[in-house]
Subunit: 190 residues, 2 copies
C-alpha cells in the first residue's frame, strides 16, 4: 500500500460555496504535487446515484456511496475533496469513522445571505413553499457538532476559506508529504 491520503469533506447548504472552495483546494494541493480527486455532489449524483431522490434514506445512500469511493481513494494515497450538502450528522459521522483520515469542513453561510445571492432563485421558491426537500428551508440541515474547521462564506473570501482549510489540514498532520515536496513549509512557496 502507498502512504495513505486523506478526505477533506465540505458540508453546507446549496450555494454556500462548497464547490468553489473545493476547486481552490484542489488547485493549491495539485500545485504542491499531491494527487487530488474532487467528488462533487452533483457529479456523483450522475455517476453513482442517478435514480435516488431526496428522502433521508436516499440522501444517506448517496453519502455512503461517496464515502465508499472516498475510502478507496484515501487508502491509496489520494487527497479526496468532497463537496456535498450532506445534511445529516449521523451519516457524516459514519463516513468519517469509515474513512479514518478525515477533515470535516463546515461551509457556513446564513440563509439570508444565500437568499440574497440565490442566482437560481431556488431559495426564494423554497421560502415561498414551492420547493419540497430543499435543504435548510423545507428539509433539515444538521450543522456539524465538531467540525475541524468552520468557514463563513458571508464574511470571508473563497481564497481566505481555502487558506484556513489548508492550515487545518497542515495542523492535522494527515497530509502525506507531496512527492515533489521541496521540504519548505507550505506557506513559504506562496
Amino acid at each position: 500500500m502507498p502512504q495513505p491520503g486523506l478526505t477533506i469533506w465540505l458540508t453546507g447548504l446549496s450555494g454556500a460555496g462548497k464547490s468553489t472552495i473545493a476547486n481552490g483546494l484542489s488547485s493549491e494541493l495539485r500545485e504542491r504535487g499531491h494527487p487530488v480527486e474532487v467528488l462533487d455532489g452533483d457529479v456523483v449524483r450522475t455517476n453513482l446515484s442517478r435514480g435516488l431522490g431526496f428522502s433521508k434514506e436516499d440522501r444517506d445512500t448517496n453519502i455512503r456511496r461517496i464515502g465508499f469511493v472516498a475510502e478507496l481513494l484515501t487508502r491509496n494515497g489520494v487527497v479526496v475533496i468532497v463537496a456535498a450538502i450532506s445534511p445529516y450528522r449521523d451519516v457524516r459521522d459514519e463516513v468519517r469513522e469509515r474513512v479514518g483520515r478525515f477533515i470535516e469542513v463546515f461551509v457556513d453561510c446564513p440563509i439570508a445571505v444565500l437568499t440574497e445571492r440565490d442566482s437560481k432563485g431556488l431559495y426564494r421558491k423554497a421560502l415561498a413553499g414551492e420547493l419540497d426537500n430543499f435543504t435548510g428551508v423545507s428539509d433539515p440541515y444538521e450543522e456539524p457538532a465538531h467540525a475541524d474547521v468552520v468557514v463563513d462564506t458571508s464574511s470571508e473570501t473563497a481564497a481566505q476559506s481555502v487558506t484556513r482549510v489548508l492550515a487545518t489540514v497542515a495542523e492535522s498532520g494527515l497530509l502525506p508529504p507531496a512527492p515533489d515536496d521541496d521540504g519548505e513549509a507550505p506557506q513559504a512557496s506562496r
Copy 2:
C-alpha cells in the same frame, strides 16, 4: 498525478471463477508491491448499486458505476481488479474506452461444467425455468469479441489462470513498476 495504474477486468458467468482469480491476482500483485483494489461484483452491488435489478438497463448502470470507480483509482496509480459478470459487450467496451488502461479477461467455462459444480444449485434451478435473469441461461451473456486473454477454468487451475493473466499484463506494458521493485523479472521471485 502519480504514475497511472490499470484495470484488469474479469468478465464471465456466475461460478466461472472470477473472484478466485481476482484474489489470486491481488495476492500476487500486492506481494510485488503494487497498490491493489479488488472490486467484486457482489461487494459493489451492496455499496454502490443496492436497489438496482437485473434488467439490461440496471446491469449497465451497475457496470458504469464500477467503471467510474475503476477510472478514479486507475488514474491514481492503483491496479484495480474487477470481478463482475458484466454480460453486455457494449457497456464493457464503453468502460474500457473510459478507463483507457484496461485489460479484458474472459473467464470462460462451459455451462455444462458450471452446472456440475453448481454449489448453490442456481444453474439447475435456472435450467428448470425457475430463475429469471440468470446470466447464461435465462439472461444473455455476450462473450468478449477481443478479450486480451481468455482463461478456461474447466481445463486449467486457478493458479494457471492467474499466471496467464499476469503474463498478459506484463506484455501489455501497462503495469507501472512496483514501488519496491527490485528490477528482477516477475518470474524470478517465484
